[in-house]
């Protein structure tokens, strides 16, 4: 038995990946350790020689980053999961939102804030910004956005009632009983939300098996349960 496989995964994957890998460990008896952090942090750590065998990024740009530095095994890179972008409101909210070019989001907000993840950096924020731009809303709501450090923090703002509306992933919205999903952004308003995975160069022997398991149908239900879409190899 070699050293345990180390997965560097975007923090938002935690529930699903923990469950999947617990199953993997039970079946194979092999040890797996997962380090969850922001994709940018993980990417830079891999750049600095972190002992990661598998990298699962929350977006393509940080996978591109490590890819560009020649740090991953290109052949193993795959977009494994997908997610949807949704608009949420506190559970007891009476607001109804119809997403479209004439949604008048700014009026809907009034003096309140729209909670999002960082719109310049965090993937969820970037996607949201692209969607709002495409829908012609960005200009008017730009000054009313409360940018949180990550999606979870944005969700908390809505969940706590600090913000009447927020843009988060479907996976997050689903898990929080204090919010309700009021609308889903059409897939064509933003680039596809994908989670690429790849083996890091010089990965351990067991890593390939672990990655294969993550991408396998056997594991797919762990991810679907949390609201991810599962992207079969394309």
């Amino acid at each position: 038995q070699g050293k345990s496989t180390v997965i560097f995964a975007a923090a938002s994957m935690r529930n699903a990946l923990d469950a999947a890998m617990a199953d993997y460990k039970k079946n194979t008896g092999k040890d797996v350790k997962i380090s969850y952090a922001g994709s940018s942090t993980l990417a830079k750590q891999i750049e600095q020689g972190a002992p990661a065998d598998i990298f699962i990024s929350a977006d393509t740009q940080w996978m591109d980053y490590v890819d560009g530095k020649g740090l991953i095994d290109k052949a193993t890179r795959k977009d494994v999961f997908g997610n949807a972008l949704v608009m949420v409101a506190p559970k007891d909210s009476t607001k109804s939102v119809a997403i479209g070019p004439d949604m008048k989001l700014a009026d809907l907000l009034g003096s309140d804030k729209l909670a999002m993840a960082d719109t310049n950096a965090v993937p969820a924020g970037l996607y949201g910004k692209q969607a709002l731009t495409k829908l012609g809303q960005w200009e008017s709501v730009q000054g009313k956005i409360a940018q949180a450090a990550d999606v979870r923090a944005a969700l908390a703002l809505v969940s706590r009632g600090e913000a009447p509306l927020g843009i988060v992933y479907a996976t997050d919205a689903k898990a929080d009983p204090k919010v309700k999903m009021v609308a889903t952004f059409p897939a064509d308003t933003h680039p596809p939300i994908v989670y690429p995975a790849a083996l890091v160069k010089n990965a351990g022997l067991d890593a390939k098996a672990a990655l294969d398991f993550i991408e396998s149908d056997a594991a797919s239900h762990f991810f679907k349960e949390q609201g991810f879409t599962f992207l079969p190899a394309y």
């Binding site: 922001g38 706590r160 009632g161």
Partner: protein, 231 residues
């Protein structure tokens, strides 16, 4: 590349404002708590001491959540403040200042407490025999003698405010011009591939501001604290 963008300038100005207000506004409270901890004898002293240290012990994000739960618009204190005094902290720079103040609080208290404990109480006794009342003794004897500790505490709190990020962004999020301080701006940049240069620039600005603050406090401390020392 070395001159900050207008948006960055806004963040810098805001950071300075937040750090200054946080430091100055929490100073009297910290001083009172430091006096209590150094001099007081009361049940629950250890508890108070523990609470003062909480913002250190908890991850900043947790502190931010606690602030959000308490001082947010829906939080009990936040609601009360808004309803009765029209004070809103959530999503405002005042909230950023509150977060910074809370995060810097333990350092202020500790530095002041150390100085208070070093004061020779015989001098305060002498002042009392000369007719000075407790508040007068405090301002004319104790306070001047603990100035080094106050400066040290203030500088620590100010520096911490400049660097504070986790609690701030969690509590008041990151609204350019309102709550986006230097660290929040840096955080955004760090998540962006290829923005290393900008990160460096903003970090250097922080460092420069804190150097000025440091020098200032050292100067003040030298002028007061050590002027009366014997050679």
């Amino acid at each position: 590349m070395w001159s900050p963008s207008p948006e960055e300038m806004t963040a810098i100005r805001l950071s300075i404002r937040v750090a200054s207000v946080a430091t100055l506004a929490s100073l009297p409270v910290a001083l009172a708590v430091a006096m209590l901890l150094a001099r007081g004898r009361f049940p629950g002293k250890s508890l108070l001491n523990g609470i003062v240290h909480l913002p250190l012990v908890l991850p900043p994000v947790v502190t931010g959540y606690v602030l959000l739960l308490t001082f947010g618009r829906m939080g009990p204190v936040g609601h009360f403040l808004q309803a009765n005094f029209g004070i809103v902290l959530a999503f405002r720079w005042t909230g950023a200042a509150l977060a910074a103040a809370v995060m810097g609080f333990p350092f202020q208290v500790r530095a002041m407490r150390l100085s208070v404990e070093a004061v020779d109480r015989k001098l305060e006794q002498a002042a009392a025999t000369l007719g000075a009342s407790a508040p007068i003794i405090f301002t004319t004897v104790t306070l001047p003698l603990i100035l080094p500790g106050i400066f040290a505490g203030a500088v620590l709190a100010f520096a911490k405010s400049l660097g504070e990020f986790g609690a701030t962004i969690t509590f008041v999020s990151n609204i350019p011009g309102e709550t986006q301080t230097i660290p929040s701006a840096i955080y955004s940049l760090i998540q962006t591939p290829g923005a290393e240069g900008e990160v460096l620039r903003l970090a250097l600005v922080s460092v420069a501001i804190s150097f000025v603050a440091l020098m200032l406090s050292e100067m003040l401390a030298r002028q007061t604290g050590r002027r009366w020392a014997s050679v």
